[in-house]
Subunit: 300 residues, 2 copies
Amino acid sequence: MLKKIVIFGVGLIGGSFARALHKAGAVEQIVGVGRTAASLARAKELGIIDVISTSVEEALRDADLVLLAAPVAQTEAILAAIQPYLQAQTVITDAGSIKGEVVAAARRALGDKIGQFVPGHPIAGLEANGPDAAIDSLYTGKKVVLTPLPENSTAQIALVSAAWEQCGAIIHQLTPEDHDAVFAAVSHLPHLLAYALVDDIAAKPHADLLFQYAASGFRDFTRIAGSSPEMWRDISLSNQAAILTELDAYIAQLTRFRGQLAAGDGAAMQAMFANAQRARQNWLSNIETAEMQPKQDRDQ
Amino acid sequence: MLKKIVIFGVGLIGGSFARALHKAGAVEQIVGVGRTAASLARAKELGIIDVISTSVEEALRDADLVLLAAPVAQTEAILAAIQPYLQAQTVITDAGSIKGEVVAAARRALGDKIGQFVPGHPIAGLEANGPDAAIDSLYTGKKVVLTPLPENSTAQIALVSAAWEQCGAIIHQLTPEDHDAVFAAVSHLPHLLAYALVDDIAAKPHADLLFQYAASGFRDFTRIAGSSPEMWRDISLSNQAAILTELDAYIAQLTRFRGQLAAGDGAAMQAMFANAQRARQNWLSNIETAEMQPKQDRDQ
């Protein structure tokens, strides 16, 4: 059992981590730190955290584990504030959706204490935010990708892994570079495509007519365009190179398809559709049942 | 109450129409016609249709209403088979997802009986297919877009409208051209984009690694890429011009975004994301509650 965990950012991600560890009886005390006094007070009221701290020095004293669950853009400032008070036994991890820039920020802020930072990314979320949205089952059966650094010890990686496993998560490991390349393709690009489609339609003179006939297929396709614009600006800027690679490949793919459509090449289009349908079906068959929910609606 | 309705294609769309009308007590007899004897037998066994007919002449005799619910590519052949036996009181409608080509096919097949054809498109569906998937509530609260022709009488349009209203649907009217332009933007384009993304990822050498980390955002974005390749080939070919217009606008939008990303223009990207988020939120607020289901999952 860990004695003391410190969480920076007690919203959905940090709060759900705290709830899961409390439920598992895996920690004696959870200390919350954050920019918003009201969120901290609410998190304490809800029993998510045991103690509110307004002093980083006090919070860090004798801490086993620190989780950064604030917006990724704050990573460097938080780590710089932590660095002077970071004791040798404390391990830090984070929950940011990009890893290359986070690691670079951590190296700048932590200097020769970088070995104490084990970067991570829980692949889970809800549309809701804030401490009231936090639930103890958010990570059950979900993946947490750790991107350990050469400076991390086996024990440091194991401590972070064990905490997430207590939350019910499945631990994967990638390099920070592979992580960012993978998520550029399967997460960042789809988000940008969904935003672009809604913005494209909204800018048309007859947008009201168009939206009137958008149905469940459109709703699901664009669900991720409901995400935070600030967060996706930060992700776009932080993972610029990998996203540009994926975006260029996708524009080339669309341009190829445009040629087939203009030529009336039904066979080529059908082959592409069938390949995509088959690949998606294989993916659905392979993915963990725990991560899937039934989907019944469709529109044409 | 209608005495006799004939349905060509007793799968999800035609079968659900039949079930809803039976439940509403809106019809005395429903006759099923189709290419597959097993489907017809199953539809009769399930009580979806009252009579199986293998003769178009017999089926059409004294019919009030005919619904074409077979694949759109069969429209012309079915209407050509119907034409010699089409009595003056019978009204035909269809359920095809494109209307311009359907109207052209109907004009070729029906000649001077074209006024008896009132084109329609129910905006509803499920991922399942066949008579076993048919449910009486499929159209409850959903839109049915009719695209009447200049040759239709008010009474003919009213007959088709009333039948769909008995199914619980809400009737809208557009011209066939407007219908196809609208659905190119809000339905056809998103389907093609989803297919293109899955195909793009599946073609990469590290596709297995990528699919391993695809999560709920990817699943919802690509749900429509699980649709029938044959159907979407036909829709792409049938609505080629309108889809090309939308696809070109979207590629231009992506190219603009690519420039902002390459330039690191965070403000421009955030403005686009925020505009899309706001437009989607407005759409969700406006759309009929009846059509919406809660969505709680999100990934980054």
